[in-house]
C-alpha cells in the first residue's frame, strides 16, 4: 500500500524557490532585527552627509569617510573637529581614539563567527556598534552570524546611500548656520552619547570630560581639547572598577529594554 502523501510534501523542499528562501530567512528573528537596525541606523547617514559638507569637506571626502572609515562615531568626530577649526591631525586623533572600541567588538565577533580569510576582511569592515550588538543579542551561532551580516552589510549599504543624499542636500542648503546645522551637530553628538549614559559612572565621566573640554578650549589649538578629554577618560577607565562594558552600547539598540536611564542594571550585561 502506498503511504498517503502528506499535503505539504507537494512543496519541493529540496530546491526552494527564491521567494521561499527569502521567506525562510525573514522567519529568523536575527535577520528581522538586523534589517530594522540597518534601516534605523542607515537613515541617519543623511545627517552625517549634511554635516560633513557643512564642516567644509567635499562630497568625495565625505563619501571616503562613509565608505572606508565606516564607523559613525569616528566619522562624526572627524568632521566635528574640522568644523570647529581643528587640524587634520587633531581630527585623525579624535576619530582614531573613538574607533578603538571596535577592536573589542572585533574579538567578540571573531569568537562568535569564526570567519575565515578573505571573508574576515569584510567582517572586520562591518564590525561596528550595531552589528556587534545585534549578534551578541542572539544565542544560536547561526542566528548570531545572520544577525551580524544582515545588520553590518545592511547598514553599510544604507549608511553610504544616505550619506551621499545628505552630502548633496547639505551642499544645496548654503549657509550652514542659517539652517541651524551647527545646532544639528550638537544634537547629533548628544544623540550618540545618550545611550551610553547608563549608570552613575558614565554620567560622571561625561560631565568631567565636557568640563575639561570647555576649560581647555581657550588655551589649546582647536581640536586638541578633545584629545585631552580623551586622555582623562582613558586614565579614568584604567583606574576604575565599574562595569567593564559601559560606553560600549550601540546608537540604535537592537534589543531596547524598557528602562532607559541611569539605573538600568539589566541592560547590556552580556556585551
Amino acid at each position: 500500500m502506498v503511504p498517503a502523501t502528506p499535503p505539504f510534501a507537494s512543496v519541493p523542499t529540496h530546491r526552494p524557490t527564491y521567494t521561499g528562501r527569502v521567506r525562510r530567512l525573514w522567519a529568523s528573528p536575527a535577520v528581522r532585527i538586523g534589517a530594522s537596525i540597518a534601516v534605523a541606523t542607515g537613515l541617519y547617514g543623511v545627517s552625517f552627509g549634511a554635516l560633513a559638507v557643512a564642516s567644509g569637506l567635499s562630497v568625495p571626502q565625505t563619501m571616503a569617510l562613509s565608505l572606508l572609515m565606516f564607523t559613525g562615531g569616528s566619522q562624526f568626530a572627524f568632521i566635528g573637529v574640522i568644523s570647529g577649526g581643528g587640524t587634520g591631525s587633531a581630527a585623525f586623533g579624535a576619530a582614531t581614539l573613538l574607533g578603538l572600541r571596535n577592536a573589542v567588538y572585533g574579538t567578540q565577533i571573531n569568537r562568535m563567527l569564526k570567519t575565515r580569510w578573505p571573508l574576515k576582511l569584510a567582517a572586520a569592515h562591518v564590525t561596528i556598534d550595531e552589528s556587534t550588538a545585534t549578534a551578541v543579542g542572539q544565542e544560536d551561532p547561526d542566528e548570531q552570524r545572520r544577525g551580524f551580516w544582515v545588520a553590518g552589510v545592511g547598514i553599510y549599504v544604507l549608511w553610504n546611500a544616505f550619506s551621499l543624499l545628505g552630502a548633496i542636500l547639505g551642499g544645496a542648503l548654503g549657509d550652514p548656520a542659517r539652517w541651524g546645522l551647527d545646532g544639528a551637530a550638537v544634537a547629533a553628538f548628544l544623540g550618540l552619547l545618550w545611550p551610553r549614559l547608563k549608570g552613575r559612572e558614565p554620567v560622571a565621566i561625561a560631565v568631567v570630560c565636557a568640563l575639561v573640554t570647555v576649560l581647555a578650549v581657550p588655551h589649546l589649538p582647536p581640536g586638541v581639547p578633545i584629545l585631552v578629554a580623551g586622555l582623562v577618560a582613558a586614565v579614568w577607565g584604567w583606574i576604575s572598577h565599574g562595569r567593564a562594558d559601559e560606553g560600549l552600547e550601540p546608537d540604535v539598540d537592537p534589543y531596547p529594554s524598557d528602562g532607559h536611564g541611569p539605573t538600568d542594571p539589566t541592560h547590556g550585561e552580556v556585551r
Partner: protein, 105 residues
C-alpha cells in the same frame, strides 16, 4: 585645506579599518582584558561628551554661548522623550535656526 585633509582622511580610514581587523586577529584574552574594555568604554563616553561640549560652546579658541546652547537643551528634551536619532538632530537644527531667527542666538 583640500589636499592636506585628504591625507588625514585616508590615514584615519586605514587606521579605523586596522583597529577593527586587529580585534579579529589577536587572541581574545589580550583585548578582552577587563581593564582594556574599561578604557575603551570610558574613552568612547569621554570623547563623545567632549565633542558635545566643543560643538556647543567653542568658536575657534573662544568660548561663546549662543543658539547652539538652545540646540543642546532642545536635543536633550527630545532624547528624554525617546525621540529617534534623526528627529533629535532635526530638533537641534530647528532650535538653533529658530533662536537665530528671533535674534536671541
Amino acid at each position: 585645506m583640500s589636499t592636506g585633509i585628504w591625507f588625514w582622511i585616508l590615514l584615519a580610514c586605514a587606521v579605523a579599518f586596522l583597529t577593527k581587523l586587529v580585534g579579529h586577529l589577536v587572541p581574545a584574552r589580550l583585548l578582552e582584558d577587563e581593564r582594556m574594555t574599561r578604557v575603551a568604554g570610558a574613552l568612547t563616553i569621554g570623547l563623545l561628551a567632549s565633542l558635545v561640549a566643543m560643538n556647543t560652546v567653542s568658536s575657534g579658541q573662544q568660548v561663546v554661548l549662543d543658539a547652539r546652547l538652545g540646540a543642546l537643551v532642545a536635543a536633550a528634551i527630545a532624547l528624554v522623550l525617546r525621540a529617534p536619532f534623526l528627529v533629535v538632530v532635526l530638533v537641534g537644527a530647528g532650535a538653533a535656526a529658530l533662536l537665530r531667527l528671533t535674534g536671541i542666538g
